[in-house]
């Protein structure tokens, strides 16, 4: 172990001041989220207008509100063709509001659309569970400067999804409606155009249906309409988020630099734990780096994927760090300070994050090319997705099991050592062990505190979101809690890592280098909080410390 970390050499008073300061900063993070930022995301609902297109889409013409021959009631419409390609469902995003044409902004970061299919119960057109539905989707975009209905192609795709609907037994009469699961329609990693237009056709091949009713669109029941819900990140939230990141980046960078220099100045090679903290800091710096600013001026659809990867990296490193930290505090374990001895346990984290990485790369990676792609749409795809998520969930549970086991072992060792009073004969050795115990307890307490805060914030967020559903939406104290949760936990992550960097850096006051024997400033050690709970008699006969 390092001879001594900063934490052991801080007086109670200093520690208290630092903690109070950090708590204030933490509260500030919460308040910024709660008061200043709007909720992280918002939606717009589009009940798709059904139009009649006699050209059946062969002309390649965009159908929009102004050239739409509206079909008021689908069930009363008699089509002139068998394939029903003449019915087009359209939605122009976003709506005009207050007489003004609203525009999407790059601040929205992402746009995703889910589709709600409305299916009516009908004796004749029976919906069969797990029916395949296939649509031809065209998505167009329009620049700010271009003419009103001058739409350009963004993506065209044939989308296949599985339609899962349920209906209560008593609703099984004409006019009763099914309750259908929503379908993922599209996901755009950047919101770089102001206007979008969606044209959807649901063609049917009568012959194929007679041949095999399991063909797409043969068993989807009596469709009464489509509803598109578009979700984006709020610009206000993006602004607050980006600024907190921008403000945190230099602080984390400076702290990391300081820490790096500190462990490089040691007369020995950095220990495993010290390196782990360094990597944790590094991953936080990567997480914090506000690369999203570029997306405001340039089209970068892959940013959504990048932000997922950054978060994944941070959590992988954090989980690994906890494991190493617990392991390195097993006082009597001789295999310490060697990454290889953690191979087995680390493999769980690697597997879990690897599985999620694969899932994310498939889902969001393919979406870069085809915004309508979803892993979940095909049976094989959803199997892969399920397997990936299942494996990672299993590994995470196993990891936490092992971590708990390790922590319990550390605790019992500590207790054992304490009660045995083995080190009373060697003051330096005793101080070292006390230091180890103190460091461990401190981080344990701090981690539990942070976890508790996160869980509390999460429940506040859930409660706040539930409140919005109430009788009349109240703008109460907790309604802004979703943003507060995000900024708060983000701030907590930062504070957690910064505190680690600062507190667990090797102290230059004492034990500079592991081989230093004599302490030059013993009275401070007595004041040290790590000593307050031992019956420390100032019997300072420094003997040779064990070469532990």
């Amino acid at each position: 172990m390092a001879g001594g970390a900063v934490i052991e050499n801080l007086s109670n008073r200093k520690l208290f001041v630092i903690f109070a300061g950090l708590l204030a900063v933490q509260i500030l993070f919460f308040l910024v989220g709660a008061w200043y930022a709007p909720s992280p995301s918002s939606y717009m609902e589009f009940e798709m207008i059904s139009c009649r297109d006699e050209t059946k889409g062969l002309s390649g013409e965009w159908i929009h509100r102004d050239n739409c021959h509206q079909i008021e009631e689908l069930s009363e419409f008699t089509p002139s063709s068998f394939d029903l390609r003449e019915i087009v469902f359209i939605a122009k995003m976003p709506h005009a509001r207050d007489g003004i044409e609203l525009e999407y902004s790059p601040w929205f970061q992402f746009l995703l659309g889910v589709l709600q299919i409305e299916v009516e119960y009908s004796e004749h057109f029976k919906y069969v569970p797990h029916a395949q539905i296939e649509f031809e989707v065209r998505m167009g975009h329009r620049e700010h400067a271009s003419k009103k209905n001058d739409w350009k192609e963004l993506a065209t795709s044939n989308v296949t999804r599985i339609l899962e609907c349920t209906i209560a037994e008593e609703d099984k009469k004409d006019g009763g409606t099914y309750n259908c699961d929503m379908l993922d329609l599209f996901e755009l990693g950047s919101s770089s155009y102001p206007f979008y237009l969606v044209n959807i056709r649901i063609p049917i091949d009568q012959h194929a249906c007679q041949y095999n009713p399991k063909n797409p669109n043969c068993q989807i029941g009596k469709l009464s309409g489509l509803r598109l819900i578009e979700i984006h990140q709020n610009g206000g939230f993006t602004l607050v988020w980006l600024w907190t990141k921008t403000l945190m980046t230099p602080i984390v960078g400076a702290c990391l630099w300081w820490y790096y220099n500190r462990i490089n100045q040691l007369a020995r090679n950095p220990l495993l734990l010290e390196r782990a903290i360094l990597y944790l800091g590094l991953s936080l710096a990567i997480l914090d780096f506000p690369i999203e600013w570029i997306s405001l001026t340039h089209r970068l659809p892959f940013l959504l994927l990048v932000s997922d990867l950054r978060q994944g990296l941070f959590y992988t490193v954090l989980f690994s760090f906890w494991l190493i930290f617990a392991g390195e505090h097993l006082i009597d374990d001789t295999t310490r300070n060697n990454i290889k001895s953690y191979r087995f346990n680390l493999s769980f984290i690697i597997t879990a994050s690897g599985a999620l990485l694969i899932y994310d790369l498939i889902e969001r990676g393919v979406q870069l090319y085809d915004p309508f792609y979803s892993v979940w749409s095909s049976p094989t795809g959803s199997q892969i997705a399920y397997v990936a998520i299942f494996i990672s969930a299993l590994c995470t549970v196993a990891y936490f099991g092992f971590l708990l086991f390790k922590i319990v072992r550390v605790w019992t060792t500590i207790k054992h050592k304490r009660s045995a009073q083995l080190y009373q004969t060697s003051e330096n050795r005793r101080l070292k062990v006390e230091g180890v115990i103190y460091r461990f307890k401190f981080l344990m307490l701090f981690t539990v505190l942070c976890a508790g805060f996160t869980i509390l914030a999460y429940f506040m967020k859930q409660y706040g979101e539930a409140q919005l559903h109430g009788d009349e939406a109240r703008s109460g104290f907790l309604t802004g809690s979703t943003s507060a949760f995000f900024t708060g936990t983000f701030g907590m992550c930062n504070i957690y890592v910064l505190l680690l960097l600062a507190m667990y850096a090797p102290s230059h006051k004492h034990y500079r280098g592991a081989t230093q024997l004599i302490d030059e400033n013993d009275d401070e050690i007595i004041d040290d909080p790590s000593n307050q709970h031992t019956e420390s008699n100032a019997m300072t006969t420094f003997l040779k410390p064990s070469t532990d």
Binding site: S42, F46, H95, A96, L112
Partner: protein, 358 residues
């Protein structure tokens, strides 16, 4: 058909010598031809509109179109709901000699509530279809005129915090248009009752909205979740309102305020039976309850001859007996499947029994 509806109008006018609040006559207005649909002439033809209503109608023809269709579907739903009851949601009762809307009965309460809700529902749907450009974002209350621009803030607000609402515009416009007459006469008990029931209708509609959520956090996790509200089907809402109709509360007028004498049923709470509480109609408990001032007229005085009565003939025919006819009808069967609109069926014969009042 046109002649009949004109006759209905004429009768209503004759039956209502004072200009009653008859904005719902708009439901009879002819919107079928495209020339009249968007023309202000439509508004002039409807009797009983207040000047303000006429102005609103004139200035927002596009919105009025959806308002009318909402009104129609409300009255249609009302007829469907009450087809097996003595009062079949007819708004003209020659037998009684007066329009049921003029009697402050619970039927009247129901009609007001469902019309107000129907208007809100229809406008909200039009908003979510993007057919009305004047729909608001919901947060900023509209000015005196819904078309007036509080709009300069709108785009920046949209970028900052989105614009998700479709319902509030419908409610606001409906309030302004539908409640217009009664708000001017807010001291009269009848107007107070109407205003209350309109509000109940709108509130029930808002409360009937379902919540749906989508998780879109890292790897699709629910850390980030967006929820939205879905307008219920109007039929579903009408069923809920029908329950409220059955539980409607009789109120009495006292010092320009409406009070409910609550007589708790013995079965529910025996303890409170001793007290006769008086409740302000605007109190919290009454916010979701329909209220009425007068008892219903005797609907058996109506000529129910030849009315189809289904399986509730003893009720509907008021003890005058009924006859059963058996007929063979053609029904579609062995239909072929097409997803939305096309039916390819064979016809099958089926024996159907129908009951009619004598």
């Amino acid at each position: 058909m046109l002649i009949r509806s004109l006759l209905v109008l004429a009768c209503l006018l004759a039956c209502a010598p004072t200009t009653v609040n008859s904005w719902w006559l708009l439901s009879k207005a002819d919107t079928s031809s495209p020339t009249t649909a968007n023309s202000p002439i439509l508004c002039k033809n409807v009797p009983g509109l207040t000047p303000q209503q006429k102005r609103m109608c004139h200035e927002n023809p596009n919105i009025i179109k959806y308002l009318i269709s909402g009104l129609r579907s409300a009255l249609h739903t009302c007829e469907y709901t009450f087809q097996r009851e003595a009062w079949n949601c007819t708004l003209t009762l020659p037998g009684v000699g007066t329009s049921p809307l003029q009697i402050a009965s619970r039927e009247s309460a129901y009609v007001y509530a469902i019309s107000a809700a129907g208007v809100s529902h229809s406008l909200a749907r039009a908003c979510s279809k993007g057919l009305i450009d004047d729909c608001g974002c919901g947060e900023t209350p509209q000015g005196t005129d819904p078309t007036s621009s509080t709009a300069s803030r709108s785009p920046t607000d949209f970028v900052w915090a989105g614009c998700s609402d479709n319902v509030k515009f419908g409610n606001a416009f409906g309030r302004k248009f539908v409640d217009q007459y009664d708000r001017q006469h807010a001291t009269e008990p009848r107007s107070q009752m109407n205003l209350h029931n309109n509000r109940v209708g709108r509130r029930l509609l808002a409360n009937a909205m379902n919540r749906e959520c989508k998780c879109h956090g890292v790897s699709g996790s629910c850390v980030t979740k967006t929820c939205w509200k879905v307008m219920p089907k109007f039929d579903e809402f009408a069923a809920r309102l029908h329950e409220k109709y059955q539980l409607a509360k009789l109120v009495t007028n006292n010092d320009q305020k409406l009070f409910v004498r609550s007589t708790p049923s013995a079965g529910l709470s025996g303890r409170t039976e001793r007290y006769v509480k008086t409740l302000d109609a605007s109190s919290k408990q009454m916010r979701n309850e329909l209220i009425y001032l007068d008892a219903s007229p005797n609907y058996c005085a109506i000529d129910v001859k030849d009315r189809e009565c289904g399986d509730k003939c003893s009720n509907i025919c008021c003890g005058r007996g009924w006859r059963t006819t058996r007929e063979i009808v053609d029904e579609p069967c062995h239909c072929q499947f097409v997803w939305c609109c096309e039916v390819k069926c064979k016809t099958c014969k089926k024996l159907v029994e129908r009951n009619f009042c004598l």
